[in-house]
């Protein structure tokens, strides 16, 4: 059974899908369902059979959105699937999943520090996690497209 077919219970959360080259499937979900989606993933395959590899945040300035991609590696096949969601650029807030998937801690902290996404419920979020004090003092998020550092 392929790893994608084992995720059939998660289909109810998906509103779109596509492929990132060379062959990584992505599934679009509503940002409100992030905790439900990952809870279902844990219930379906268990903590031993997946890990969150990274969160890729991208500032889509022309669409006034911030896109978040959660790259999840499904084991034992070690197949990467992507859960994709969009947030409004002027208020990029999403629920944190650090309490249910502790492996996202570093990625949530980095995405907050560099892009300004607020992960509600993550008590470890802070400015200066990576960027220097002068950028923090200017209240800039360096990976925003309108920020020149």
């Amino acid at each position: 059974m392929s790893s994608i077919s084992r995720l059939s219970k998660l289909r109810k959360f998906f509103v779109g899908e596509g492929v990132i080259k060379p062959n990584r499937k992505y599934f679009v979900f509503s940002s409100d369902n992030i905790r439900l989606l990952f809870s279902e993933l844990i219930n379906t395959i268990g903590y031993e059979n997946f890990y969150v590899s990274t969160i890729v945040g991208t500032d889509l300035i022309s669409e006034n959105k911030i896109r978040l991609d959660y790259y999840v590696v499904i084991l034992p096949e070690e197949e990467t699937v992507v859960f994709r969601t969009y947030l409004p650029r002027d208020n990029p807030v999403i629920d944190s999943i650090v309490d249910i998937v502790p492996g996202v801690l570093s990625s949530e902290c980095e995405t907050h520090d560099l892009l300004g996404v607020v992960f509600q419920g993550n008590q470890f979020l802070k400015r200066g996690f990576f960027v220097s004090k002068d950028i923090v003092d200017k209240k800039q998020y360096p990976l925003r497209k309108d920020v020149k550092v």
Binding site: I20, K21, P22, R24, Y47, E48, N49, F50, Y51, V52, S53, T54, V56, G57, T58, D59, D69, Y71, V73, L75, P76, E77, E78, E79, T80, V82, V101, P102, G103, V104, L105, S106, S107, C109, E110, L114, G128, F129, F130, V131, S132, D134, P142, L143, V149
Partner: protein, 398 residues
Amino acid sequence: MGVSKVIEIPYVVELPVGPQHPALHEPLLLKAYADGEEIVKVEVNTGYNHRGIEKLAESNSFYRNIFICGRVCGICNTVHANCYTRALEYLLGLEPSSRAKYLRVVAMEFERIHSHMLINAIIAELLGFEALFMNIMLDREKIMKAKEILTGNRVVGDYMMVGGVRRDIDGVKRDQLINILKKIRERVVYYRKLWMEDDTILKRLVDVGVLTRVNATKYSFVGPVARGSGVRIDSRASDKYDAYGEIPWRIVVYDEGDSWARMMVRWDETIESIDMSIYALEHLPSGETAIPDERKLPRKFPEGESYARVEAQRGELTYYVMSTGGVNPYRVKIRTPSFLNIIHSTILYPGYTVADLPVIFGSLDPCVSCMERIYVVDLNKGVRFRIRLKDLALKKVV
């Protein structure tokens, strides 16, 4: 005489280790809280070495970024450049020749050999074995020489290019490399035996910093750290990029989960890497060129997204590249293995002694230049500013 002062001694003392500390070879602050000799909590403080490379990549062309990505980390430069280059090849729909794929594997495995030998030497030093550290480093020089023969440089090779590699080798160099590898193999087998039998090494590493199988995935540990806890993950096997699907090798997994298991994974992988490199060199495909003609490569990239993975010496390294159809990438996201292995390592220390802390940390093979990513700091004026790599190379900065 009555008591006039009361001195309160806190039950738990705070012990800052780093960001500059003899036990840590990287700029990172581990804030340990100890109850007597026992560590009860550790916090990791980052941000001492962030260089803004992802932002830098957005203002440089797809091709120039190959050199920038190769400088994210000195030890892992070949895998960084390979992962980014493959992400570009996915966007372009380009496939390197078989000979180039084999040469890429050899270069990356050379890097794994010297990296694994380095961290094992450092662990020996942390344990107090100065002579063993010196001996391993002396033998490691041989593989550095081999890398120089292959790529032209002993550390930063700049070997990868879109569609192939930058240099090829002839039969004389191939035989030279095989001879060097056979000599190193004997030494690595000897060092592995030491790690299996030496009482001091076993007492300092066995059952220290235990990571369970479930916590390895729950906290997203990757590479030898995860494989030392029984997690069978290796992107060389699952993605079969370059020539990894054509060369016989096995994934090394240990179930113990302690610092010893993580180091043993690295010794076994070093032997596997030597055998893989010898096989690749002996079966190097002929008849095709490994070096593509740069003039025929497109300047503009098509619109699209790609995501490449590579099994770096410290674990899964990933590059996401997004193109909007221009000459520069719209977004480059780098996720290095140390980014996961170090920040999430706080769960490994509680319950062990203060003396175990550098050993556990060392067993994770930390790399902060990988994890954080060019600022220049003028210490006399107390200011920071950014410069172009070209200006740095031409020494325009005083």
